[in-house]
């Protein structure tokens, strides 16, 4: 059981670090996907452990949400790139103080 949880934690850490340190919004996006899938892995693992169906169900929901999110997120990134010629998250600071 432990290897699944450890793998899930490692994946989540990699995803979170990616989000925090990378400037390219597409890479940041990938980091987010990685964290979502790390969570999925945990869900499935615990579902198996407890012989319960709810964890697997949650994993499917996460996948659906992730798919929808990819569509919206990529559209935003493309749109931002069109107007600003940049995909760096540091340049998207219209709302700063």
């Amino acid at each position: 059981m432990t290897p699944y949880i450890v793998l899930s934690a490692i994946l989540f850490a990699i995803g979170a670090t990616t989000v925090l340190v990378r400037r390219n919004s597409i890479v940041v996006f990938m980091g987010i996907e990685l964290m979502l899938n790390a969570a999925n892995l945990s869900f499935v693992a615990f579902a198996k452990l407890n012989a319960a169906i709810e964890g697997q169900l949650a994993a499917f929901f996460v996948m659906v949400v992730a798919a929808a999110e990819v569509v919206v997120g990529l559209a935003i990134i493309v749109s931002v790139f069109r107007s600003r010629r940049s995909v760096s998250v540091d340049d998207e600071n219209l709302m700063r103080h």
Binding site: V19, L20, V28, V89, D90, N93, L94, M95, R96, H97
Partner: protein, 647 residues
């Protein structure tokens, strides 16, 4: 004493008003409507405003006199009427009707106020002829007449208080009539504030009545006063006296009256000599049933009257300003009335009689002073007058009548009333012989000083050498002004005798209590002779100093008493030090507390929020990654807390 009170209450069983007495409410309404019209119509009414202003009190006078004669035709015992106007306050436990109490006392005042008032309105037509604001002046005068009539006709203390405040307002507006000059506005404010102090007494008295008797109507209060405790009656009596002191310029609230002379002279004559300032005497006499149950309160009234009558006489002897000398004299004469009113049944009727005669001769004196002022370019310094008798014969004669009347020379009107008051002061009450001697001698000496200062005024104004400023050309005033002066002079000559002859004090007896036969400590004829001797001495001293000797145009430095009297015996300095400055300090302190503590707290909260916002704003740096880091940190902290608490 309680027997007298219940006897009084029993005598005042009232019948419903009929005939002219039923119309008395019109005497209040007509001047009130006229005042309203004159104020609302504004400049449109400038041309004819004074005519309406004169007709309104004239109409009141006609109704008032008709009512007086109707009541005179009734048999004794049926001369009290109740005129119900409307239900004023209705509650489950407390109900009060607004109504008029028509009896001997209120009718006396109605007659005095409307008659003298009408004369002074007529005089004002001439006096204010060249004033662009004459219409506004008449509006205020009419307002005063309405309020004064409401004061004397009201059938409850609360309704009387409405009139009480109304005359205070009119007095304030008229003292400050020429309020473009700062001293006038200050004088108006001073009068207003002094009156407010008295009003506190009135309010406390009202509350005490409501608390003790559950009613504030005259009939209810007087009925309850027969059985009330002495302590409560004393409290009410002292509070009513405070109110009377404020309104009637009695010690220690007298300092406003001298400054009130800043108003136009007809105002000084009507409001600050003949009528409004006597409202305090009316209050004390009207509240007779309360005072008869409270000997200590009565004693305080007598003491206040005695102090004021000497105080006013001393101040009047030193003033070179003609109007201020007359104002001090008014104070002193009202002191006599207060003293008599405080003596109870032996003096109250004479207080009212002196009030009526004083209303005539003092108004006449003031109108004469106004006539002189008019011709001397508003100059009031008597040291710049002299020898006016040749050029202003009518003013000279009419003021001369007033002069003889106020000194109490027989058979002029002041003799009949003042002599009785001095007589009453010598009567032993409550077995205290020394009090009779003390108050009697004070009244006697006051009469001497009165003779001195009035003769001084008269000689300095009309006799001696000509001390006018260079550009003066005085001559007699217009008939508008001389006619009222002549009528008032006739009153000064004959009214006292007429009132005595018609048994005026006995007529008042149902309200004031009958004048019982008390013997003064000296025989009455001795008192009269003594008074006349003292008066003659006063005149002689004045003649020596101001007729024989030349009067200097500039006031000599004088001795310490003269200097003190010129400063109103330092009353203003005393008030400034003891009341005004601490009051202002208190106001400043509360202002500082308001701006620094109350506002400071509000501003401090605002300042904190602004500062916090300014600091937190820096977090919005626009870097998505920093937001994400903050969120991550938050999640980690939350997780740590959750885990730590679970272990």
């Amino acid at each position: 004493m309680t027997q007298t009170a219940s006897a009084l209450a029993a005598a005042q069983v009232a019948t419903t008003a009929t005939g002219a007495t039923n119309l008395l409410w019109l005497t209040i309404l007509i001047p009130l409507v006229s005042a309203g019209l004159l104020l609302i119509l504004g400049r449109c009414a400038d041309k004819w405003g004074h005519a309406l202003g004169v007709l309104a009190p004239l109409a009141s006078c006609v109704i008032g006199l008709a009512a007086l004669f109707q009541v005179l035709g009734q048999p004794q015992g049926q001369r009290t009427y109740d005129l119900k106007l409307f239900g004023w306050i209705t509650g489950s436990d407390f109900a009060l009707n607004a109504g008029l109490r028509v009896d001997q006392l209120s009718l006396t005042f109605v007659a005095l106020v409307t008659f003298v008032g009408t004369l002074i309105h007529i005089y004002s037509v001439g006096y204010m002829k060249h004033d662009p604001d004459r219409r506004r002046f008449f509006a205020y005068l009419n307002l005063f007449v309405a309020a004064m009539l409401l004061l004397v006709l009201a059938d409850s203390y609360l309704l009387m208080f409405v009139g009480w405040e109304g005359v205070g307002l009119a007095s304030y507006l008229l003292i400050g009539f020429w309020n473009d000059k700062t001293p006038n506005a200050v004088a108006a404010k001073k009068a207003f504030i002094s009156n407010r102090i008295g009003d506190v007494g009135m309010l406390v008295a009202l509350m005490l009545m409501f608390w003790g008797f559950g009613t504030v109507s005259f009939s209810g209060v007087f009925k309850a006063a027969g059985t009330a405790s002495t302590g409560l009656l004393t409290g009410i009596g002292i509070m009513l006296l405070l109110a009377a002191c404020g309104k009637s310029a009695q010690f220690p609230l007298q300092s406003w009256l001298g400054d009130a002379m800043a108003g136009p002279t007809p105002v000084s004559a009507l409001i600050h000599a003949a009528t409004m300032v006597t409202a305090g005497v009316y209050l004390v006499v009207r509240s007779g049933p309360i005072y008869s149950g409270a000997p200590n309160a009565r004693l305080i009234v007598v003491i206040v009257g005695a102090i004021t009558l000497l105080y006013g006489a001393i101040v009047g002897s030193a003033k070179d300003d003609m109007k201020k000398a007359l104002a001090a004299s008014t104070m002193s004469q009202i002191g006599y009335m207060m003293l008599a009113a405080g003596l109870g049944t032996v003096g109250a009727a004479f207080a009212i009689m002196h009030l009526v005669t004083h209303g005539f001769f003092k108004a006449g004196l003031f109108l004469g002073a106004g006539s002189v002022m008019h011709q001397m370019k508003e100059q009031t310094d008597m040291r710049r007058f002299g020898a006016l008798w040749k050029v202003m014969a009518i003013t000279w004669v009419t003021m001369g009548m007033g002069w003889l009347a106020i000194m109490g020379i027989p058979p002029f009107s002041g003799f009949w009333s003042k002599d009785k008051i001095i007589d009453a002061a010598f009567i032993v009450q409550d077995g205290q012989t020394w009090r009779a001697w003390l108050f009697g001698l004070v009244a006697l000496i006051g009469a001497g000083i009165t003779a001195f200062y009035m003769s001084r005024l008269f000689f300095m104004m009309f006799h001696g050498s000509n001390r006018w400023d260079d550009d003066m050309d005085p001559h007699e005033s217009s008939p508008w002004m001389t006619f009222p002066m002549i009528v008032l002079a006739l009153g000064s000559v004959a009214l006292g005798w007429v009132l005595s002859w018609t048994h005026f004090p006995e007529w008042l007896a149902p309200v004031t209590g009958s004048v019982s036969d008390h013997e003064p400590v000296m025989p009455s004829w001795a008192i009269t002779v003594l008074t006349l001797v003292v008066v003659l001495i006063g005149i002689a001293i004045a003649a020596l100093k101001y007729l024989k000797q030349k009067v200097p145009r500039l006031a000599p430095p004088g001795n310490w008493l003269t200097r003190a009297a010129r400063q109103d015996l330092y009353q203003d300095s005393f008030n400034d030090t003891v009341l005004v400055r601490p009051g202002q300090a208190l106001v400043t302190a509360t202002r500082v507390v308001d701006t620094d503590v109350v506002d400071g707290a509000v501003r401090g909260v605002a300042w904190l929020s602004v500062g916090a916002g300014r600091a937190l704003r820096l977090l919005q740096n626009g870097f998505v990654r920093s937001y994400a880091a903050l969120m991550a940190a938050g999640v980690i902290i939350l997780l740590a807390i959750v885990l730590a608490t679970r272990v």
